[in-house]
């Protein structure tokens, strides 16, 4: 709809863009367009209209707003910055609604009780009203043909004249109509009823009472428990009360206070917190929150609780009076600790927590407006309570809380408070660990507990550890298995300390290269994903072009499985790098060769791949070779020379090894960080010597089921195309018992120990 643009003309509004059109009968000149004029504007002495904006016409001195209104009705009320058309649009819409509403209601009444006299029903509504404008005469709307009583008061026009306007339309003259002036109950129920309800008349006038637990019904009415509202509390407000601060039984509160007042060592406070939560949520889940006799419950972590670990079910619901008395007494007794205990309650909002997860926080019902929470909010909280109970139960002993005892510079209370909240809302920044470990070598161990600072290396140590590992790899003193273990340990240290800088990038990059060199694609993928996140932060340095090239190559290798969209997205994001980077432009050429099935070019590009590109091309290299052979066998007749295939399938080196494209580290004679070899040859290195290449080719052809016509001399041999067409196979990958052909059995056994 075109309601997106502001109506520039009155006519535009009348076309009904955003709002129902203004009835044509309402003339601006004669009719006062603002029957719903709010009190502030009607009585300018009390609430003067805001100063006109710079563009507004000056108000002539000595002219009251009323006088002005006579001259320029719309301008006076809305100012020049608020053009009259809008006021008219609102007013007209409003008016229409008003009249339609009145009619609809009238029709409803008529249908239900034919003899009903609306004048009586509306009598309760009589209240001082500003003089109704002439625009409100019913002439502007054609009255529906209802065979109503002949009484003059039934004519809709007179209803308006009497000020019998349904309450949602009436503008309260703010001074005259106090908020207590509620429409009669019966009337209100009607208003809640949608027009469709005329079909189901039986339901009219009913509304469902909130289902309260029986024991609570008396309490809900008791003034001590329900917040007194300025108006009749709606069913929602009453129902929502239990979740607010007033909603817990006072006996429970005093129970919590007593628990905290126990003399227990500091390190056990966390456990106490957890235990309390568990007890309360258990009671909540069983619906015994209000029936359990909290006065007699053993306190958690006390001797009594050791003997009776399970909360006993309440013998009988205690009367409200008894509870009230007990609460009063305990309140008086526990007053000094009240504030302290409140801080520890898990439902207390902790304003100091940073709002890192803005959306989720906003999505949860705001605790400030707990009295206003709707039924949905209440259910949400109940479910949440149950879920929290489940989570709290996981660490029943509170060991987890203890383990975090020595985190630096954040008070324990904050963290415990944060833990009690929904996991989604926890501000994990509070849990950042500052490591103290000084050793350079650390084996990876997947954490099952919160990290212990004594086993985490700080950044400076990590840097040295990284240098050491890269050096060891360059020297070839350590194998990939060791590097994997070390890299994963470093990655973990970075994660738990929230390090996102050049060091992190270096570690991930080196690990990715090491994984590529070894052929560990799963680990490479993890690193690449993480690097993608890291690179999004433009302040972090890194070998973006190199890894962009890897990404393109990787997706190209898998493109035939149909992730074209992913590849396109990568291209979109990396195309700008192609200008300055040989690696990226090489990767783009590879992509083109693969997509155009230009196998010859593809295999020659393998030779020219910079950095670790060959490792990625290895992924599907054999598949592409097989596809090329398949094509050759089907296209050439009657034979295809082995010699030709040797060059077509990339067994013969073309001598276009990339030397100018090498990384600066490689030029200096060093391997890339993370690599052991200076120049990664790849799994399928082309041979310079034609004899060796020919032999390789024949061997490969035989493995793949090609039928050779003259096997004795590879140089003159040829593949019999017709015979080979149906015999080509992809040999099954070499299977190793422990699953990884590259992994030496010693390393495998070491990993098992």
């Amino acid at each position: 709809m075109d309601c997106t643009s502001p109506p520039q003309l009155n006519g535009c509004t009348q076309q009904g863009a955003g709002y129902p059109p203004q009835p044509a009968s309402v003339s601006q000149a004669t009719a006062d367009p603002t029957p719903p004029l709010p009190a502030e504007n009607a009585q300018p002495s009390e609430a003067p209209p805001p100063a006109p904006p710079p563009g507004a016409p000056p108000v002539p001195p000595g002219q009251t707003p009323e006088q002005q209104a006579v001259a320029h009705p719309a301008h006076a009320y809305y100012g020049a910055q608020y053009p009259p058309y809008q006021a008219d649009a609102w007013a007209a819409y409003y008016q229409q609604q008003q009249q339609a509403a009145a009619w609809q209601q009238y029709a409803q009444y008529q249908q239900q009780w034919p003899g009903y006299d609306p004048a009586q029903a509306y009598a309760a509504y009589q209240q001082p009203q500003s003089v109704q404008p002439p625009a409100y005469t019913p002439a502007s709307v054609a009255p529906p043909q209802i065979p109503g009583p002949a009484a003059a008061s039934n004519v809709p026009g007179t209803q308006h004249q009497n000020g019998a306007v349904p309450p949602w339309q009436r503008q309260s003259p703010a001074k005259a109509a106090p908020p207590t002036l509620q429409p009669p109950k019966q009337q209100q129920n009607y208003l809640k009823q949608p027009p469709a309800a005329t079909k189901q008349q039986g339901k009219i006038g009913f509304f469902i009472k909130p289902q309260l637990p029986k024991s609570r019904q008396g309490q809900a009415a008791a003034p001590a428990y329900v917040k007194v509202e300025d108006s009749k509390p709606g069913p929602q407000a009453a129902a929502a009360a239990p979740v607010g601060g007033q909603g817990w039984p006072i006996s429970l509160r005093s129970y919590v206070e007593r628990s905290f007042a126990q003399k227990i060592p500091d390190e056990k406070k966390g456990a106490l917190n957890v235990a309390l939560k568990q007890i309360i949520s258990d009671a909540q889940a069983k619906g015994e929150l209000w029936t359990r006799s909290w006065e007699t419950m053993p306190l958690p972590l006390s001797q009594a609780a050791e003997t009776a670990s399970l909360p006993r079910p309440a013998a009988a619901p205690t009367s409200w009076l008894a509870q009230h008395r007990a609460a009063k007494a305990s309140n008086l007794a526990a007053k000094p600790t009240l504030e302290a205990s409140r801080k520890n309650r898990r439902w207390s909002p902790s304003p100091e927590r940073k709002r890192s997860k803005v959306w989720r926080r906003a999505a949860s019902p705001d605790s400030d407006s707990s009295t206003d929470t709707t039924g949905g909010g209440r259910r949400f909280l109940e479910q949440e309570g149950r879920r929290r109970a489940g989570r709290a139960g996981r660490f029943g002993t509170g060991a987890a809380a203890d383990a975090r005892g020595n985190h630096a510079d954040v008070s324990r209370k904050d963290r415990v408070a944060a833990l009690g909240e929904d996991v989604d809302q926890v501000d994990w920044d509070l849990f950042v660990v500052k490591g103290t470990m000084q050793e350079l070598e650390k084996s990876y161990f997947r954490l099952t507990l919160a990290p212990d600072p004594s086993t985490v290396r700080p950044e400076s140590v990590l840097r040295r550890a990284y240098e050491r590992l890269v050096h060891l790899l360059r020297q070839g003193k350590q194998n990939y298995f060791y590097a994997l273990d070390q890299f994963k340990g470093m990655r973990q240290d970075c994660t738990v300390q929230h390090l996102r800088n050049d060091l992190t990038v270096n570690i991930y990059e080196a690990h990715a290269r090491a994984a590529l060199e070894y052929g560990d694609n799963a680990e490479y993928n993890q690193c690449q994903t993480q690097l993608d996140f890291l690179y999004r932060d433009s302040s972090v340095p890194g070998c973006r072009a190199e890894f962009a090239a890897y990404r393109i190559l990787y997706q190209t290798a898998h493109a035939k499985q149909g992730d074209n969209a992913g590849l396109l997205n990568t291209l979109r994001n990396t195309l700008h790098l192609a200008e300055g980077s040989a690696a990226v432009s090489h990767a783009l050429q590879v992509r083109e060769a693969v997509f155009c099935c230009d196998y010859q070019k593809l295999f020659s590009l393998y030779e020219a791949a910079p950095n670790m590109g060959r490792a990625l091309m290895d992924i599907s290299y054999d598949k592409f070779r097989h596809a090329a052979l398949n094509m050759a066998v089907r296209v050439y007749k009657p034979h295809v020379q082995v010699d030709f295939l040797t060059s077509l399938l990339g067994f013969k080196a073309l001598g276009n090894r990339a030397s100018s494209t090498a990384d600066s580290a490689q030029v200096a004679g060093l391997s890339l960080p993370g690599c052991t070899q200076h120049d990664f040859p790849g799994k399928y290195p082309p041979q310079v010597s034609p004899q060796v290449a020919g032999k390789d080719c024949v061997k490969w052809l035989k493995e793949h089921g090609a039928v050779l016509s003259n096997e004795s001399s590879p140089a003159e041999g040829a593949v019999d195309c017709k015979a080979s067409a149906n015999t080509l196979v992809m040999p099954a990958a070499v299977a190793v018992a422990h699953g990884d052909a590259n992994l030496a059995i010693d390393d495998f056994l070491k990993s098992m120990s």
Binding site: C3, Y93, L191, E592, C596
Partner: protein, 415 residues
Amino acid sequence: MSGSLNAFLTALASTVTYQRGEELRKLLSVSNQHALEAVRQRSRGMPGWDANGMVREEMRRYSLRGSGWDDIFAQHCTALGALLAGRAVDAYAQLVAYTQPFLKLFREDKDAWLVPVMCGMVHNLRDVARQADAETRRSGKSSDALDNCGTLMQSCFRTALQATGNKEKKLALLEIINTLFKVYFQLNTLRLCKTLINAVASKQFLEFDMFPASQRVTYRYFTGRLNIFDEKYQEAVDDLTYAFEHCPRGAEVNKARCAYYLVPARMLLGDLPRQAMLQRFNLHHYVPIVEAMREGSIQRLDSCLRDNQYGFIQAGTFLLVEKLKLFVHRRLFKRVALLHRVQDPAKADRLPLVKVQQALAWQGVDIDLDGVECIAANLIYRKLVKGYLSHQHRIAVLSKQDPFPALSAATLTDP
């Protein structure tokens, strides 16, 4: 000044009371200038006013207090205020906050009057999420509002799919799906589209024709684009043709969008577009491609691909257009073969590859004979040319009958 906000709230309240979904959708739109103006006036006249309290108070007058709508309207007004102040992130948080309450109302509604409002909600979410993302990105941080919006809209989708109480609530589905498509296309999480398409294809879904034409067109447009990604060209052409033909005549921009994908997809199936079509929908990118396909000019195609690389990749048609290279190669071979037939009628079916190499050299494409052989091999392999190759003699032996079959017979994916 406050009159206008009061009137806005009145309008909101009465649409709820009388269940006018379409009107409520318009009123609740975040781009509704009237509503924005009303909030602007109010915040100008009363700096620091509390939308929450005020709107809730106001809603009591219309006996909507506690119905859930009062919170929704209050948060909506706060969101509008935040939008006006240029705080899209806050505005988005507000929208998110009232989405679940709205879904609850939608679920509990016996009627289906909230269907248009639901559509408006998902539009609002996406609009504001994008603004929020743009705002965060301006400050140099990465943002996930749109991501979050996708998850949230998934829950809208599920709610509408369940359609508790009234089957007609499912009418909101297609619009939600379309909006989700837009989000997923922007986030490039296209695999998530699969579940949505499966939902539409399932038997429990409503009859496709029950939805408004605008939604049907949008849906088929997106499925067409997805099919292009998946290299299902025939399906893509079907979808896009549907979208193209069902667009109203006046919707030139939308028609042009459909045509942008329809034209290359149909070219892949062997139909060249007319010049008038390219002119009408401003598809000038494709003009050199069409000419290259007519002439068999590799050089033209290459230069066009190079020039429009960014554009095609952005639009997602790059891989599609690149596939047309094969057709251009075929046309070149055909033309060379015709010339060869005239030059050497005795050996008309034995086409020396040197001649093709020569033709390519004239076009300015430098390529060795092995490369030409590779091209020829691909053409024969994909059934664009009938015949076989001889490496020894460097010739392509063409089939005696119909050496260049119709383009529609070609296999574009790997055989």
